[in-house]
């Protein structure tokens, strides 16, 4: 059962722990309220596509291959935006399947420098999956320049656009692609 002195000591420690955890829970609640107040929450916001909704991607300066895409996501990044930097750094020089990048920069050279700084190869802009365009072009085509932004394409049509506030939301935007492996022939049967 333990001596009364030991029990009193355990009670004192338990009370201290209780108070510390209480203070900690309150501190986290305060942080949460501050985040809510400043709008620093990790939530995607829908962006109105206006007349671009339902249009074919190539009409808006995107790669013509997207006109036949069943499902794809185009991510607009800017070389001066902090979250864009985090996103491009998290890619480690590769782009997830079904995803395309549009880098909004003043020049192609600046885009290349920005991408190579994040681990992409020198030939990344020739791959077709990454485009470098000036902000004026985006304004002209979509009427909006929000970065980072995800533009979703379904069955060759622009369907929706959302802001990407974090790396986590970027990976949530990666389209799920299902690929069927070609049937393997049973050599014994066909021999």
């Amino acid at each position: 059962m333990g001596s009364p002195l030991v029990l009193v000591l355990i009670i004192a420690l338990g009370v201290g722990q209780f108070l510390l955890f209480g203070a900690l829970a309150e501190a986290y609640r305060d942080i949460r309220q501050l985040r809510e107040q400043t709008g620093a929450l990790d939530r995607v916001m829908p962006i109105d596509l206006g007349t671009a909704h339902g249009g074919t991607p190539s009409r808006f300066g995107l790669h013509p291959d997207l006109d036949s895409a069943v499902r794809a996501v185009v991510i607009y990044l800017e070389n001066r935006c902090g979250t864009c930097r985090l996103i491009v750094d998290s890619l480690n020089g590769g782009i997830p399947r079904g995803m395309w990048l549009v880098v909004v920069t003043e020049s192609r050279a600046a885009a290349l420098e920005w991408l190579t700084g994040a681990g992409f190869g020198e030939s990344i802009l020739e791959s077709g999956r990454v485009m470098a365009v000036p902000a004026q072009d985006i304004d002209q085509h979509l009427g909006i320049t929000v970065t980072p932004m995800a533009l979703e394409i379904e069955n060759g049509r622009l369907v929706r656009a959302t802001s990407i506030p974090s790396v986590r939301q970027f990976y949530n935007a990666v389209p799920t692609t299902i690929s069927l492996a070609p049937p393997t022939l049973n050599q014994e049967v066909h021999a």
């Binding site: 059962m1 333990g2 001596s3 009364p4 029990l7 009193v8 355990i10 009670i11 338990g14 009370v15 722990q17 209780f18 108070l19 955890f21 209480g22 203070a23 900690l24 829970a25 309150e26 501190a27 986290y28 609640r29 942080i31 949460r32 985040r35 620093a40 929450l41 990790d42 985090l86 750094d89 998290s90 506030p165 974090s166 790396v167 986590r168 939301q169």
Partner: protein, 174 residues
């Protein structure tokens, strides 16, 4: 019978420890509630110290084996005070936040009136603790306090996980 009484009384003590410590740690919710109810901030600031102090004193009286009638009377006093506050708040017709457990989540009203029988049960249990020695009471109470600490850790750990998740999402890093 005696074991049941002991468990009820110690459980009531654990609840009072939670309530008293939380009210002492942050006296503002209780002071605001009493101030809204009575209209006297000076009285409210005194009550914000007296009530949690009384709650913790009740625990001390039960666990340290003071006369049973004293512990019983203190439980009745606490229950009656909370019930009167609830009825008073109900009568004013205003929404007055309850400072139960130091927080302000609920509304002061019928719930406090309805809890009066529970306090009376605790008072009855305190009268039947005679056969238990102080070390035995301390031992049971220790387990209660340890459980209390563990229960209090859960919201803190959840808050930590949420804050870490958001920090990693917004600014990156590990």
């Amino acid at each position: 019978m005696a074991t049941t009484s002991a468990l009820i009384a110690i459980a009531a003590c654990v609840v009072l420890v939670w309530s008293g410590l939380e009210k002492l740690r942050n006296r503002v919710p209780l002071a605001e509630t009493v101030s809204t109810l009575t209209g006297s901030p000076t009285f409210a600031s005194r009550v914000a110290i007296i009530v949690p102090g009384f709650e913790l004193a009740t625990v001390g009286v039960v666990v340290l084996g003071a006369p049973a009638y004293l512990a019983s009377a203190m439980f009745v006093a606490l229950g009656a005070t909370f019930a009167i506050a609830g009825a008073w708040a109900r009568r004013t017709g205003r929404v007055i936040p309850c400072a139960c457990f130091g927080g302000t989540a609920g509304r002061l009203g019928l719930r406090q009136v309805g809890a009066l029988p529970l306090w009376l049960v605790a008072a009855w249990a305190a009268l039947h603790l005679g056969s238990f020695t102080v070390p035995e009471r301390l031992a049971v109470f220790t387990w209660g306090v340890v459980g209390l600490g563990a229960a209090r850790a859960v919201p803190a750990l959840r808050g930590y996980a949420a804050a870490r998740h958001d920090r990693r999402a917004l600014v990156g890093g590990r």
